[in-house]
């Protein structure tokens, strides 16, 4: 049962992260996941102060708001302040992260909150942290409920806003002309990324979240040229990563998160070498065909 809960949690988290990651990499915002995962810290801390509890929902809302604010600040620095995109991202997330750390340390004495509990969840503890209802019934691991709920929200966003997200990713100015608000969909996407990241931190830890955001969609991108297929492949890769990672961790008796991240990396490497679309092999083949046709044309 323990294995089942861990693999299920890993798959749910990797699916949410990976689906959103598809949009991030196509928008050339792969680093935003990393940036947001740090920048939301003050949101979590403030949510904690306002509610006085380590209530997950409040923290998710705080993180979501901070995530949206982060994208606005980055946009503002980039467009209005004429700062390069990468510099805007760097300045924003380090500053916000620092504010979060200051808030935590300034009130450290009074609150039961530290960086560890916010940033470093551990997937191995998923089966022990059970959610028990007021009546005393055991409803299963808390992480399953949280990551399952987040996945439902993510699925709602990308199915209801499918065409809006697709168009604002491919051609934002055209989206603007036909009346689809680029800013609104960007904010919704980044709000979702922030919530997902933070919810996933708690269950699986920060490093794995960043790996899940980028590796499965980057792998899928190398395997197909169709967007829908890319989304479906991401789901499959998420499952493989989670299962394979757990099996590997048991085999070598090592860290589960580390093993899952390793599998994600291995799957990417395989796609990179053998992928039909962007892989090294296919590129070499295309190159050869191209050369052939140039030679025959000459």
């Amino acid at each position: 049962m323990e294995a089942f809960w861990i693999i299920l949690t890993g798959t749910l988290v990797a699916t949410s992260c990976g689906l959103l990651g598809n949009y991030l990499i196509l928008r050339r915002m792969a680093m935003m996941g990393d940036a947001i995962s740090h920048a939301v810290l003050p949101g979590i801390v403030l949510a904690f102060f306002l509610t006085g509890t380590r209530d997950t929902i409040a923290m998710l809302i705080g993180a979501g708001l901070l995530g949206v604010l982060t994208t606005f600040i980055i946009d503002f620095l980039h467009k209005r302040g004429k700062l390069q995109a990468d510099a805007s991202i760097g300045v924003t997330f380090t500053s916000l992260f620092a504010i979060g750390i200051i808030l935590i340390s300034a009130f450290a004495g009074q609150v039961d909150l530290d960086q560890d509990c916010v940033l470093y969840g551990e997937i191995a503890y998923v089966p022990i942290d059970l959610w028990i209802s007021n009546g005393g019934t055991i409803l299963g691991p808390r992480a399953i409920w949280i990551s399952g709920g987040v996945l439902i929200l993510v699925l709602l966003l990308i199915s209801l806003g499918y065409k809006e997200l697709y168009l604002t990713t491919f051609d934002p100015s055209y989206a603007g002309v036909v009346g689809i608000s680029v800013g609104l969909w960007q904010a919704l996407l980044m709000g979702a990324v922030s919530m997902t990241t933070v919810a996933s931190f708690e269950s699986v830890g920060a490093i794995l979240v960043v790996a899940f955001l980028i590796a499965p969609p980057a792998t899928a991108y190398l395997l197909t040229t169709r967007f829908r297929t890319m989304l479906w492949l991401t789901v499959g890769i998420a499952f493989l990563t989670s299962t394979g990672g757990y099996v590997l961790a048991v085999a070598i008796d090592g860290s589960i998160a580390g093993a899952m991240a390793t599998i994600a990396g291995i799957l990417f490497a395989i796609a990179f070498v053998f992928g039909p679309e962007g892989g090294l092999m296919s590129r070499r083949k295309k190159q050869a065909t191209l050369e052939e046709s140039t030679v025959s044309a000459a």
């Binding site: 004429k82 809006e164 002309v177 169709r226």
Partner: protein, 267 residues
């Protein structure tokens, strides 16, 4: 020479646009008649793309405004189509030709609605018009530059608008395709739709357009082709680049002849 018309389909009023406080369009004031096929002509960096983007609210104006059908853009979006320059997107994006053309329908669909069968039919019809129906399923990264251009054109056509803005639709297409496309645009103009085209090949201006804007940061001229496409005004727009001038005067002579032959401008 700036000719104004009554009941214009597009009015640009005292428009100034700057990037980082450096003006690239200065005090543009013009009106266009409905049903015209308009060429925007001017040297590289003249602000041709910027003029279109500003009319479409894609770049903010420092001062001035534009009215389309006598209204703000926000109220008439469904009647306005846009074909951006090909370089404005990443062609390695995971999308098929049909996916891209269907985007032309998104504005009409509204929130949460997916394209339906009727939208697909319009998309296929537009692909047929640009001679790309056989490529509907093709991944867009596997197209030549000219084919990509035609896909963007089909997407703009799929908007079924009354006023079209096209940024260099002929860049990179072969001569036969260019001919087919201009035929299509002329047909649209005959159906009283207005088509505004950024064009950089002076050779064909007289043949293609019945209204011309000469632009070089300022608006040098706006009016019926035979009144605007003159040696003098072209020199002004192109800043007297010597190599060009002899060529241009030849063109003008040839062109005015052609224009008379074709009766390019109606009303």
């Amino acid at each position: 020479m700036i000719k104004h018309v009554e009941n214009p389909v597009l009015e640009v009023h005292d428009l100034t646009v700057s990037y980082a406080r450096k003006p690239v369009l200065w005090d543009i004031d013009l009106t266009l008649p409905q049903g015209s096929l308009v060429g925007i002509v001017g040297p590289n960096g003249a602000g041709k793309s910027t003029l279109i983007k500003s009319i479409l609210d894609l770049v903010p104006a420092s001062s001035g405004y534009s009215k389309l059908f006598g209204d703000d853009l926000a109220n008439v979006r469904r009647r306005v189509a846009y074909m951006p320059q090909r370089e404005s997107v990443d062609w390695d994006f995971p999308a098929s030709v049909l996916d891209v053309v269907l985007m032309g329908r998104y504005g009409k669909l509204g929130l949460f609605k997916r394209p339906r069968k009727a939208d697909r039919e319009v998309a296929h019809e537009c692909l047929r018009k640009v001679g790309m129906e056989a490529f509907a399923k093709r991944q867009i990264s596997q197209l030549s530059g000219g084919q990509q251009q035609r896909v963007f054109l089909a997407r703009a056509l799929a908007q079924e608008a009354d006023l079209y803005f096209m940024d260099e639709p002929f860049a990179g297409v072969d001569a036969a395709t260019e001919k087919a496309i201009i035929g299509l645009l002329q047909e649209m103009a005959e159906q009283n739709k207005t088509v505004v085209v950024v064009h950089h090949d002076l050779q064909s201006v007289v043949q293609y357009f019945n209204w011309v804007l000469l632009l070089n940061m300022r608006l040098v001229a706006s009016g019926p082709t035979e009144q605007v496409f003159t040696n003098e005004l072209l020199q002004e727009a192109y800043g007297g680049k010597l190599t060009l001038l002899t060529e241009v005067s030849e063109l003008v002579q040839k062109g005015q002849f052609a224009a008379r032959e074709k009766q390019g401008y109606r009303g």
